[in-house]
Symmetry: D2
Subunit: 371 residues, 4 copies
């Protein structure tokens, strides 16, 4: 499979550079009969978009999706769906002086070492602009999963630097609150504190890391392919491939290191699982409980604080990023992480149907608890 | 690609159940000309093997590898290499009473939901016995990487429950010490404490989680394929697919959440990188610094402490594992994690050579520091 | 996908050399619940086997299949099925003097050019012995296709050098007759003539080409994936990959060159198709008519007639094959071709189910005629 | 790999319907450093284009290629190359009355059976318009193969219905003549006869089949991956996937059926091969001789001659194609077949480099003769 493709049966291939003419994707393997219109993409693309508040990069892209193929009279036909978004607000001259410089913490140096050539403008292919197409493809996956299985995939900002939202004891997320602010922050009481933190940070010219959590509800048991196509393995790859992600956890995640077996293992009764440390996955296969994934994102490397680096000639230079950038890339990562989880689930759903048939759960599902 | 296969060009397909006649693998795409003998597998298989100390499961397997194909007069020919190990110490009757029961924290329930049938003996395909073949395949990858690029892939136990080894300030690992004890523990001063902790734990019938770190040294810059074949994305999938792993981190990992950009981004000078928070990977491509990966493993679910569960009929049952099991599966995970990292690197090496040629580094490598 | 693997979802990976310890395969993606026993393999393996008559190579292999994994209490579990056959009648010393010689018409020269090393004994990996595992894997595919869809895949020898069987005007094959002789020859009246031709040929030390036809009956409409996963495209690859095949035709095949559109296009009425020049495939998707494929096989290159060649040093040598070989490899190709057709259909069946669901024909099938 | 993708490492994914907004492709895995400009595509696209003479469909498309990504300042960067062509001369109303009708010999019926929905306009995805992108992708492959290995891939029309060009005894093709007429016909003396034949045919409202041959010169020995990634197997799939192809032959092809082993096997001397019945491939690996492939194309099914068929309701209808169509689709198939051969070779070149390194021929190449 090509390295710019994702998914075995529901296959998304993305293309495009940050400041090239356009970005786009080809979605192959979509079941026929799904209703898709350009408007379907709008909501999630706006959630991901920059320029919506002072807390993200000031690049303004309309992100109008053109459907080039695979949809006839508003319905998917089973042939490849090509989506295209033109780049309109690319200010390449902001990057002119970076043509010969490797920005620290960026892919500049590694792309150059790999290929011996790079499109430096706006980070080229390594720019987070690529994730626009992940979100767009994820919209189709989310729609199919919801219509066919009532699956809902949602994420929230679970930490920003030192700040964490206060959740109820049961861990239930207030989705209205998540949708009510620009940060996907589930705790109304601390939004102001969060805003103030980011404002101070932005003025200091620095950036901060973050954590994003995603939950997929109503996933049937039985999805996931052992051994190397495990559901958690593929979620890990999908989430780690998002720009800036440095850690991926499923269920209890790293906290499992200090857990005892008698605590971690999720006991079952006829009424269902009694806990969900597993995060809805055992042996790489879904249990029917909520799928719980969490990602750790590094702070953006494009900051006003000057940093030491080298240029193509190997000479020492000082780098100070003047382009339009995010003080915390984690904020906009929420819809991207949702999309990647949805794409993995969609693909596994088709793979499960291929091998085991479209039979649904073999025995009554055992309900579970949220983390 | 089949779901029991791993790697795009250096492709490892494993087969076999814990208590079936044999386990084995087929390694396809291996370059011709690599010297391979049955003895090459012995060291790493022994490091992974059970029954070597009282700290691991008491199952004794000789793990003699038979090379069935792909090697002629001791040299790989470029055709598929099949490896076979017969199962000899499988005590299936230990599992007879578990045929109709879903052990909590195990894949019993999910395999049954997926397939409607399962080989329950010893966990069947979901058993960690499958990892024997990962280690065997990893031996070939390690050998090729070492001979061709001087790459060394090594791991250590970085945490066991509440215990962590004390390292020097520079983080340099004492490999002699790692090899000197049964735990891959790099700190001689605390081995006794570790042994005592496990002894107490084992007597209590419970188990504990762990953390394993792996470092790959001398990896050339330029390996890794953006966007969906990123080196860190593939490491995440490879490591998360290991039994019991619940979290994967690269470089600074989850600690990046509270880092500032000015701290996290690894500055460069003509003399090299000044830090390695990135863990040797930027934009999904290797920087030439050490590749640093860390995994969090859950505590084993097979414990003497009784647990609530259900049987095939959906009735409540009490489960208490009487088979031979590990108090901490993380101990034996070290050689497995090394193998998975080596397999990812080998595959990416061939993929890089395919697209960009066998040219080595395009510009002098910038050396780096350890985490 | 590895190059020794075949099929996207029903994936067969074969390994082994002609004179190595064993040959085998791993079948991944098989649906759970299929009853499989070692005896199931016997019939087709015997049809493919050498040493059964004086018309094929005198190598005698028992071809006892050992099932190493993936089958529990006689039923497939959905995990990889590994099959193993030990090589027992490999007379490698027959080949000792060929170690440094490139036999004309063989893969000796090309393997050496590719890999710089080769296992010359019995042709190594390039030997038709590899096809044993294709037949074995095909047995499972045939069984599933028959049980689930009543699909029957059968082949016959359609030409041997200048000889062709006489068929009825409707082209209907007398399968009893095909099974009644060692040649898969559907015409009782000319079996004696065929035997005599081969006897004369064998005594002359030469060999002859052949044509084998395969028909798959009861294939539902809708199988096959445009554009690059077309059913006919994959049949072409599958059949061309059989040793000695130099041509593949679907339906009218090469005869279409001189047909007019008004003749070739298969008209339809409410009662069904009026002809089947398409061979049951339009636009890469099955029509519901018989799938018709035909392959042309070259004459064996291993003959007693001396031939000019070169050795490793580039010096001229004379080659005369003394090993045990077939006067016409096309004879034994019939079960191999059937197996490859069955494997393609099985894989496409799963892929169709993945994308379009397990719904069966959307509208009543239009019956068709045989070629 | 998705079914609209082609190639393992040099991967081409095409999208688009005949009368949709656009057709396009994404080429992933292209080596960096290849100079590519929009003009590079012009020559081959014009060779494939309709509307150039009265002998092909009268649809006029400008086929202007827009490069959307992967090329920076005229040089490939190693990131995915997206190419786009807008459809401008799609006359969908020509097809309005065919919305509910299955044209005989077309994919109308099978797409509908598979997906339950279809874009009937101009054949939708099944239209030969899709091959435009194969030719475009092939341009890049041809360029790289020529620059790096001096490989030249060229085709000619080898038969049109009953007519065959007269070639010299050695079989050498007069390429100037092939390029001098609209038919890729290598025989100046019979061009007029050919034109007359097609004129008469077109007036009769019927169509005719054809044969196209392709030769690839200067392919190094050692390319091709046994067993299921054989060079001839992949050529067969690539060529059979072209619209209207019903047969694929390599080297002697179907003529091998009546050949003796002593005739077919290509003997070797120190000066080289003495013949090329193998078509440049032995055991699935290139020999260093010319690669010779031949395809048989069926006559176009879109003809003025009325044909019987059924509609969606299963009622009998009469179909008479009024759109713009080709009397012989084989004419325009020549550049398409060249492209498919070039794409297979490019992919195999990268795969060979991955496994065996960039070493070129291991021993001096043995020259060969043309078919």
């Amino acid at each position: 499979m090509s390295s710019n493709s994702f998914g075995k049966l529901f296959t998304v291939t993305t293309f495009g550079e940050s400041h090239g003419p356009a970005i786009g994707c080809v979605i192959d393997g979509c079941p026929p009969g799904v209703a898709i219109a350009p408007d379907d993409f709008r909501r999630d693309l706006e959630r991901r978009a920059t320029g919506k508040s002072r807390y993200t990069s000031q690049r303004h892209e309309t992100d109008d999706v053109e459907i080039l193929s695979g949809v006839y009279e508003g319905i998917t036909t089973g042939t490849p769906i090509a989506l295209l978004i033109r780049n309109t607000d690319a200010r390449s001259k902001d990057y002119a002086e970076l043509a010969d410089v490797f920005r620290p913490g960026h892919a500049d140096y590694t792309y150059w070492q790999k290929y011996g050539i790079r499109d430096h403008r706006g980070g080229g292919r390594a720019s987070a602009r690529e994730t626009t197409m992940r979100v767009a493809a994820g919209v189709i996956a989310k729609k199919w999963l919801r219509e066919k299985f009532h699956i809902v995939v949602r994420g929230w900002l679970a930490q920003l630097g030192p700040l964490t939202p206060r959740l109820t004891e049961s861990g239930v997320i207030d989705w209205d609150q998540v949708n009510a602010n620009a940060f996907f922050w589930p705790d109304a009481a601390t939004v102001a504190e969060l805003q103030k933190y980011i404002d101070v940070l932005r003025k200091s010219g620095d950036s901060i890391g973050a954590r994003v959590n995603v939950v997929a509800e109503n996933v049937p048991p039985g999805w996931g392919e052992p051994i190397y196509g495990k559901l958690d393995g593929e979620l890990a790859a999908a989430l780690m491939s998002i720009n800036a992600v440095k850690g991926v956890e499923i269920g209890a995640g790293c906290a499992a290191v200090t857990q005892r077996g008698s605590e971690h293992r999720d006991e079952m009764t006829a009424a269902g699982f009694l806990s969900n440390h597993a995060g809805g996955i055992l042996g790489g296969i879904s249990t029917g409980q909520h799928i719980l994934a969490s990602i750790a994102l590094k702070p953006a490397s494009s900051i006003l604080v000057p940093g030491r680096s080298v240029n193509l000639a190997g000479e020492a230079v000082e780098v100070r990023t003047k382009g339009r950038h995010d003080p915390c890339v984690g904020i906009r990562a929420t819809p991207i992480a949702e999309a990647m989880v949805a794409l993995v689930l969609m693909d596994q759903a088709l793979r499960h149907r291929a091998q085991c048939g479209d039979v649904g759960a073999i025995m009554p599902r055992i309900p579970g608890t949220m983390r």
